[in-house]
Symmetry: C2
């Protein structure tokens, strides 16, 4: 048995970052920026008023001072002339501050009569001007890689960046195997169950930024598995679920080998989980997951999620957090245990039922509580590691 | 000035939950379940083996006991007969446990010679059988509302639910207004800047589950704004950005009024933020946001996000968290202040520059530190509220 970290290193060595593609800014949200980007302009591009008011020369600003209004500067339509002594320009938020002006008196501090204004209230020290380049200057860099959030998108827009280089979504082919499986909506025979792993894994992987596709269920025959692998060709990653153990009906390994896979096989010291199959098949990486629904989903979180992150050019580190135990835990065995758990108000509670077939328990969980191999018994209130689901 | 909570209550009274639509399971991830769903079957539908091994009668299980193998039960292909005294059935993980059997001896504890097996190792107490209905029984309920995560999708699949009733994504029309704006990729004039708010807000709202559409920029004229509102018709929510104040060029309010809007106007005690315009316009709710980029985005988090959640049938409560201050903060003024901040390792630090025009600062922030009105000065290490961005 090898530790989880060694299995993960092996899996990560099978993959590389995806290509870069240019997408319109409006489609870039949630994607991973692939190259540093430079601002194509300075923001604000001119000194801009932060308020509605009157632009004047700062040296002349004092209570009871009077000015003649000689024009207007509105957003998008600046005042073209110069503000001289005793002069003011009506100005609005976001409008360019005209030449000669160095202070905006807010309209609430002024009384106006025709073309004349008088400062009626103490105007304070703030000049109410946003200096040119106060937000960023042309050439300023947004560094890659980063997952583009809503504020990044707004920032790139204001830098006048209309298309964005992002990592292509990894193409992941999902193959569930087994004569016992039918698709949701079908009528299962008495010995059959519904395929659920591919649906759960697709939701998980798509949410991480991949583009997973569910292939038809492969029956437990050599031709069926061969056909499934043929359909998967071109994928960055092929994931099979079930049939990858060493039982008499486990055909994934021999068929994959016949199709040219250089196969690695790991006994990973983890629960839930089973021997993991992995290798390269032509241009694709290939991973064989156990068929138990919860095992498959936990392996998705522990192994496939880091693979997707690396393919997207991100770091693979999962965000391990700490929480206090709400109840004691007995000692752990020799395998890393990812316990389905509930994290609430800073406390974490492992579910009592940890069998790897129980999707109803996984669906209630919002965390995987991580028990290291041979971890001794833990009291309530001790701190443990977990990853959020 | 009214408090943020009162403004929010007013805004929430303008909207209602969207209609329900049925989507294929594979498209339901991330959507909000709109109606309780009942499992269409029991899982496992039969007592199933948890291991590869031999199914026998539990009463006969002891070390050195011998059995005759009379058949096989594989996943998808159960054994049709009955297991009698001294008999065993070869069985694989997930396969139905045949009638008469009540224990699965794992293959590692058995030696086989032809049709005969002998138990060579102490088989332990665990019967290695997953009882029928151990995960869920037909009719068991998945309760709405809930955002469907990957484990929910896997669970619904295994319940044989092929289509899912979800809330329609709210249709949100985004209109930015102002002669100073051009679209990303355009060449701005000397007094112009790039429209960024609609792009940032679309990313934010789409991520929350809405379907936002960016309408053409509305110039500061009555016909341009009228045309924009016409394009927005049918939206669940119309959001304008800029032009909603009381300046000479702020035409949003009068044009909206002319188009039948029953208008409310709030001075909200918050920073960043400005008077907020809101009302109903035909079948749509309408909100007018301030034009400063950071004000618009913060109002998006504080006001629009809860509106989307309510439209999706969820609770509107933002997830307020607590963290310790990394540095002291001076006293706050009379308005709720949403400070752009960085939350790391349990500590939170407000950025020095809090001007509402600075998108570069917002893009570095991962939290909004919430200062209540008139909050006194705070020392480092004091606990404060924040929402994660």
């Amino acid at each position: 048995m090898i530790p989880v970290s060694e299995a993960l290193d092996n899996l990560l060595s099978l993959i590389s970052t995806t290509e870069i593609e240019e997408v319109p800014l409006v489609q870039a949200a949630g994607r991973v920026l692939a190259r540093d980007l430079k601002a194509r302009r300075t923001q604000p591009p001119f000194s801009a008023s932060a308020m509605d008011g009157y632009a004047v020369n700062k040296a002349e600003v004092e209570r009871h001072a009077m000015f003649k209004v000689i024009g207007e500067s509105a957003a998008g339509h600046g005042f073209q002339g110069r503000v001289g002594a005793g002069q003011a320009v009506r100005i609005f938020t976001g409008a360019p501050v005209p030449e000669g002006a160095s202070f905006v008196v807010i309209q609430e501090d002024v009384s106006r009569s025709g073309d004349l204004i008088t400062i009626t209230d103490p105007p304070g020290d703030n000049d109410n001007i946003r200096p040119a380049g106060g937000d960023f200057i042309a050439g300023e860099v947004v560094t890659a890689p980063r997952v583009l959030g809503s504020a990044d998108i707004a920032l790139l827009a204001s830098m006048n960046i209309a298309t964005v280089p992002v990592r292509k979504r990894p193409d992941i082919a999902l193959i569930s195997t087994g004569d016992e499986l039918v698709m949701p909506g079908d009528t299962p025979g008495p010995d059959q169950i519904i395929a659920s792993n591919t649906f759960g894994l697709k939701a998980l992987l798509d949410d991480l930024g991949a583009k997973a596709r569910i292939l038809p269920i492969a029956r437990d025959t050599i031709p069926a598995l061969t056909a499934a692998f043929d359909l998967a060709k071109g994928a960055d990653l092929i994931v099979t679920i079930g049939g990858a153990s060493v039982g008499d009906h486990d055909l994934v390994a021999p068929v994959a080998a016949k199709m040219g896979m250089e196969q690695s096989f790991y006994k990973v010291a983890m629960r839930p989980g089973k021997p993991l199959m992995a290798g390269r098949m032509g241009a694709s990486a290939m991973v064989g997951l156990p068929g138990n629904p919860v095992s498959a989903m936990v392996c998705g979180h522990v192994f496939l999620a880091p693979m997707v992150r690396i393919m997207l050019g991100l770091s693979h580190k999962p965000a391990v957090q700490q929480a206090r135990l709400a109840a004691p835990l007995s000692a752990n065995g020799p395998r890393m245990h990812y316990m389905r758990a509930r994290f609430e108000d800073g406390q974490i509670t492992a579910f009592e039922r940890q069998d790897s077939s129980l999707l109803s328990v996984l669906a209630q969980a919002n965390a995987l509580l991580i028990r290291p191999p041979n971890d001794h018994a833990r009291d309530s209130d001790e701190s443990v590691d977990f990853i959020q689901l």
